[in-house]
């Protein structure tokens, strides 16, 4: 058996919760023992639109957290923005609806072996998987500080219970409607030196991830980012979700963000080449 997708399984699962949190839907799915294979950073690919749908491709969603609950067994939580046709369909599904999913997929955030200082940076609903990650990091003794940013207050996702695992949480909005007016990347350089940050974990829009990579470039900080590139399959066969990544010998590979990501080393991603014509390999 190959090592690709080795934890993944396809199953029909029941939605056991669907509630509005700000501008997002918090969707809870009963997935049984599958939760034991899910790690922060992994994603799920879900069929949308029902059997006669004209939408033929799965939609990928970051798994924000997994839990064991007394009433539903293993549950998987997703934070979904109802933007496109597929996510709108998912958000319209009532409790009790059965969906077809494949999970867990993709790489997970690497957890430090030492109890180090880490900084979590989330953009929009990209903050969702960071709370589950924060819990894991805290149990490993890491000191966890968090920055969340969005264009406006309604797009900040910061659940009360999530804040328990973080030492501090700062919120930035570009329009100043919540927290500090400005960009989430503004304080990073200062925080790296003030707190002696060893690892930055980030999840959010590609522009934010790219900006953090630029800020950490000349430092010793490891930047683990969860990338987002549109994908057709989520399991590595369609080759559409590729990103240009620099190899150790300086050559470039177009790596699939579904199986070589979504968590990638920000220092390896060639952000300037994303969406450009990559050079032909020598």
């Amino acid at each position: 058996m190959s090592q690709i997708n080795r934890n993944a399984a396809q199953l029909r699962a029941t939605i056991v919760g669907n509630k509005l949190v700000g501008q997002y839907h918090q969707i809870l799915i009963s997935v049984g023992d599958l939760v034991d294979r899910c790690k922060p950073g992994n994603f799920v690919a879900i069929n949308v639109g029902g059997d006669s749908s004209r939408m033929i491709l799965r939609r990928a969603f970051a798994i924000s957290r997994v839990a064991h609950s007394a009433s539903f067994g293993g549950t998987m939580e997703l934070i979904v923005a109802p933007h496109g046709q597929g996510s709108k369909w998912l958000c319209s599904q009532p409790e009790g609806a059965i969906i077809d999913l494949v999970a867990p997929l993709g790489s997970a955030f690497g957890i430090p072996t030492e109890p180090v200082q880490v900084l979590l940076v989330g953009g929009g609903y990209g903050s969702a998987p960071l709370f589950g990650l924060a819990e894991v990091l805290k149990t490993r003794g890491c000191k966890v500080d968090m920055l969340l940013g969005a264009s406006t207050a309604g797009k900040i996702y910061a659940p009360m219970e999530g804040k328990r695992s973080v030492n501090s949480l700062r919120i930035y909005t570009e329009d100043g409607s919540m927290g500090i007016a400005g960009k989430v990347t503004d304080p990073i350089t200062e925080l790296i030196s003030d707190l002696d940050v060893a690892v930055i974990y980030s999840c959010g829009p590609m522009g934010m991830l790219s900006a953090i990579s630029a800020l950490t470039e000349s430092t010793d900080v490891v930047h683990q980012c969860a990338v987002e590139e549109s994908m057709a399959c989520g399991i590595g066969i369609c080759m559409t979700c590729v990103l240009p990544v620099r190899n150790s010998d300086n050559s470039i590979s177009m790596l699939r963000s579904c199986i070589d990501g979504p968590v990638m080393d920000g220092a390896d991603v060639m952000w300037d080449l994303v969406g450009k014509n990559p050079l032909v390999q020598p």
Binding site: S2, I56, C233, I237
Partner: protein
């Protein structure tokens, strides 16, 4: 009910079932192997491989469309040498039957690829992809030009000798697919793969520019299935003895059966695997049940059946 004889042949290559992956939609099989054993399906048709490593086109590389999708990959791949070193031995280990798909920029590149494949053990057939739409110059789509198509197949045939069957993959984006098919069969193709994706475009109405990095892309999925059925039907009517590997939007046993009735000896499933990694084994079971239900004792009796019923009704 006795079991249906589900086997099929392409020239001297035998397959226990007629359901194959479609090239470019299963990489070299490793990703799907987590979901089902590759030996359980007819064959793995590997992603078209070129002589040298290739990075492909910029993103965005895909756009979902009604009942379909556009892709614009541009033949990203590791190159034939790495492929032969890493992927073929692994597929043989899985006991998968292998059809290697090759693509080139020149007639010579196809011949070079054929030369490198000639001595490789464990390959059931070679698909010669002369119809990838995602190249910079439409003039390079060999399958749109009868003379260029013929030259490529002739070169591969001469290089490979008579042992391994050659399946030429054609484009539906031509006026007369039958004349292209005749040309490549005359040049030495043992079978035909019908159809490659249909050239298409999506314009992003927010940016008001073409959505795909490569501007144009290949349309696949159920949206193109009637085009594929038509192409298979026309070519089978003209050359009933040439085996056809049918593909284009097959998503159920019913769809696979339709292609077989039109004249396909085997059916490749591509885009359906994106939406459902278990699509191929599921379609295979559905097709088997359908054949039995219709009273076919062997798959071979159903191939091209739609043509036969035309005659009966005349």
């Amino acid at each position: 009910m006795t079991a249906v004889d589900f086997s099929t042949t392409f020239s001297n290559a035998w397959f226990p079932t007629p359901l194959f992956t479609a090239s470019g939609c299963a990489s070299s099989g490793k990703e799907l192997a987590q979901f089902f054993p590759l030996k359980d399906i007819g064959a793995v048709v590997t992603k078209s491989i070129m002589n040298k490593a290739r990075l492909g086109r910029p993103t965005p590389r895909m756009a979902e469309t009604p009942s379909g999708m556009l892709n614009s990959i541009g033949l990203q791949g590791p190159g034939i040498d790495t492929f032969l070193e890493k992927d073929i031995p692994w597929l043989i280990e899985q006991k998968a039957r292998i059809i290697v798909s090759i693509a080139g920029e020149t007639v010579e590149e196809y011949s070079t690829l054929a030369r490198k494949l000639r001595a490789v053990a464990g390959i059931s057939a070679i698909e010669v992809n002369i119809s990838c739409p995602n190249v910079e110059n439409r003039g390079l789509v060999f399958a749109c030009d009868p003379e260029a198509s013929r030259k490529v197949i002739d070169g591969v045939r001469r290089t490979i000798g008579g042992e391994i069957p050659i399946i030429a993959k054609l484009s539906p984006d031509v006026t007369d697919i039958v004349s292209i098919a005749r040309g490549v069969v005359d040049a030495g193709a043992d079978g035909l793969a019908l159809i490659n994706t249909v050239l298409g475009m999506v314009i992003n109405v927010s940016t008001m520019r073409p959505h795909l990095g490569g501007k144009t892309g290949g349309l696949s999925g159920p949206a193109i299935r009637p085009i594929a059925v038509r192409a298979i039907y026309q070519v089978h009517a003209a050359m009933p003895h040439v085996p056809i590997l049918g593909m284009g939007g097959v998503a159920s046993g019913r769809d696979a059966f339709e292609m077989i009735l039109a004249g396909a000896s085997g059916v490749s499933v591509g885009t359906a695997s994106f939406g459902n990694p278990m699509a191929i084994p599921q379609i295979q079971e559905e097709l088997k049940a359908l054949l039995a239900e219709k009273g076919f004792k062997q798959l071979k009796d159903a191939i091209g059946y739609a043509h036969r019923s035309d005659e009966t009704h005349e």
